[in-house]
């Protein structure tokens, strides 16, 4: 235990995701020995992110104005809507350059262990968006893990009466990888889940 301000900083850093006590201590002492200008810049970046960044009122992606860049872009189609868990997923899909529709950011996935149900996600907001009838295809791009799969199934059941075209991202073997480098669990399951072409 250190005294006063330095321990306060270590404690705060230690509460960040992925930062253990050792790392928190290392970062704190790095900050202490850094130039005052650099520390000011870091502090101001931390401040500004809370002051300036808001959530888009349409898709709940991060935005610096009422609507995010993607929702404001008139060249994109409203007919395809891609549902993701987090803003970082929007960034990942944007990097592929494959998608010209709009997004809907849920803010997480259904996870009873963490007390997260549909009411804690932007599900009602999604239903409101869909009720306009403009969307023709709904892409469920939640994570390919237990919670993401459950969320996708939940949404698929929920929108079924609307008669939309609902799709789910393909998962399994990484394309472009060599079959021989896939581990036997992944390859074994891909083999079992093979489908006609």
């Amino acid at each position: 235990m250190y005294e006063g301000a330095i321990q306060d900083l270590i404690d705060e850093l230690g509460r960040l995701p992925g930062v253990g006590p050792k790392s928190a201590q290392r970062i704190a002492f790095h900050v202490l020995s850094a130039d005052a200008v650099d520390v000011k810049r870091l502090a101001s970046a931390l401040q500004r992110v809370k002051d300036l960044v808001k959530f888009c009122t349409s898709c709940y992606n991060v935005a610096e104005s009422e609507q995010c860049r993607i929702c404001r872009d008139p060249r994109r189609t409203n007919e395809v809507l891609c549902v993701v868990e987090e803003p970082k997923d929007v960034v990942a899909i944007e990097r592929t350059g494959e998608f010209r529709g709009r997004y809907h950011v849920l803010g997480g996935a259904i996870n009873p262990l963490e007390g997260v149900g549909p009411d804690n996600l932007k599900v009602r907001e999604l239903m409101t968006r869909l009720s306009s009838g403009e969307v023709k295809e709904l892409i469920l791009a939640t994570d390919p893990n237990t919670e993401g799969e459950a969320t996708a199934t939940y949404l698929a059941l929920l929108v079924k009466p609307m008669g939309l075209h609902v799709t789910r991202l393909a998962s399994g073997l990484p394309v472009g990888g060599d079959l021989e480098y896939a581990d036997e669990i992944t390859l074994g399951r891909a083999f079992e889940g093979r489908r006609a072409v």
Partner: protein, 378 residues
């Protein structure tokens, strides 16, 4: 497959020991408490990434040491593979295959395949259903590694579903409403999906084991009654399951979850599914559990391991067989029959306190274990 070398550093009672092993039978002789079981336990750890005796890693590290290292050279089809594990409680374990570190520990699985019978296996017959489910699932994973993934997914879905039921149960008990159960249908879908995959694997495995267990029990038992095993489902009326396709099993599981929905909500946990199933072992017309004598239970447990060994061999996987403290429990006739069963194995590791207990056919290479050392004596 056989183990050519085993080297331990700070594993259990060994500060450091290196043993060269041979194909065929290898017999480790030593008084009790000298570290015979520790040797096979170390190899078992390499094969399964866990100990057959303890659930945590701490007891495996020599008292006073930080970490244990198990190094072994395994020969398969005339090619030698080096496997090195570093076991450090409180930190992530590390492994090397050949000379390169592996990114995931599970990449080590399959490098050494071993079937181990130890006195603890009596729990297969006398213990909880969880012991028998573990027996089935471990064997399933040895044959088809994808089941490690299926089982992990099933367990995760089960945990989520139970958390949901539990939250609702606690809310109701606290005098509130039942809470939000709107996602229960979704968890049912996924539980049934992975559950059916797991079930299909287990059912096929049990069917393959039935004749092998009967044969092995005949050989190692004193000869009364025959061993029968059947899969008991927690989700059918009488526990029986007809061999069905995965799709059919999935439907049946979903129906069962529907049917028990009310009591599950009432009790706040998942009551049906492969996590509640069992393997029923019978001897003649009576269940082994509760009826079989100590000797019969012990023979049954041994028969289950021998059947697993037989099955893997028949499928072209020639695992290493380890028999820990087996022969002292058997009379002369059963010793000979067991020796005969395993005489043509590629490698059998036998531990015993009294060498005379081991039949001549299994004498092979001999080692003396004592004072933290392992000496080859013939």
């Amino acid at each position: 497959m056989y183990v050519r070398q085993l080297e331990l550093v700070d594993f259990r009672n060994y500060p450091r020991v290196a043993v060269d092993l041979e194909q065929g039978p290898c017999v480790f002789v030593g008084r009790n408490g000298q570290g015979k079981t520790n040797l096979v336990e170390a190899l078992g750890y390499v094969a399964t990434l866990g100990s057959h005796r303890v659930a945590t890693d701490a007891p495996l590290v020599r008292v006073g040491a930080q970490r244990a290292v198990v190094r072994t050279a395994v020969v398969q089809d005339a090619r030698e593979l080096l496997i090195e594990l570093s076991i450090e409680p409180g930190k992530a374990n590390k492994a090397r295959l050949g000379r390169s570190p592996v990114t995931r520990m599970r990449d080590v699985l399959g490098a050494l395949r071993m079937v181990l019978f130890a006195p603890e296996d009596l729990a297969l017959v006398r213990g909880d259903p969880s012991e028998r489910r573990r027996y089935l699932d471990e064997l399933l994973t040895l044959r088809q590694p994808r089941f490690a993934g299926v089982r992990a997914d099933y367990d995760r879905v089960l945990k989520q579903r139970n958390a949901l039921l539990r939250t609702s149960y606690l809310a109701k008990r606290g005098g509130g409403s039942r809470g939000d159960l709107s996602t229960l249908d979704v968890w049912d879908v996924h539980l049934a999906k992975y559950g059916a995959e797991l079930l299909a694997g287990r059912l096929e495995l049990v069917a393959a084991l039935v004749p092998l267990v009967a044969k092995a029990y005949d050989a190692v038992s004193a000869g009364r009654g025959s061993a029968q095993l059947s899969y008991s489902a927690s989700w059918t009326d009488d526990g029986s399951v007809a061999p069905l396709s995965v799709q059919n099993l999935e439907e049946r599981l979903r129906e069962a979850l529907q049917a028990s929905r009310a009591s599950e909500v009432e009790r706040g946990t998942t009551l049906v599914g492969p996590h509640r199933d069992d393997l029923t072992l019978t001897l003649g017309d009576v269940p082994a559990k509760g009826y079989a004598s100590h000797g019969e239970s012990w023979s049954y447990a041994l028969a289950l391991r021998l059947a697993a060994y037989d099955l893997l061999r028949s499928e072209g996987i020639e695992p290493v067989l380890a028999l820990d403290d087996v022969f002292a429990e058997l009379d002369a006739g059963r010793r000979e029959r067991l020796a005969e069963l395993v005489s043509d194995s590629s490698q059998t590791l036998v531990t015993c306190a009294v060498e005379a207990d081991v039949p001549a056919a299994l004498r092979g290479t001999r080692y003396e274990v004592g004072n933290g050392e392992v000496r080859r004596v013939g």
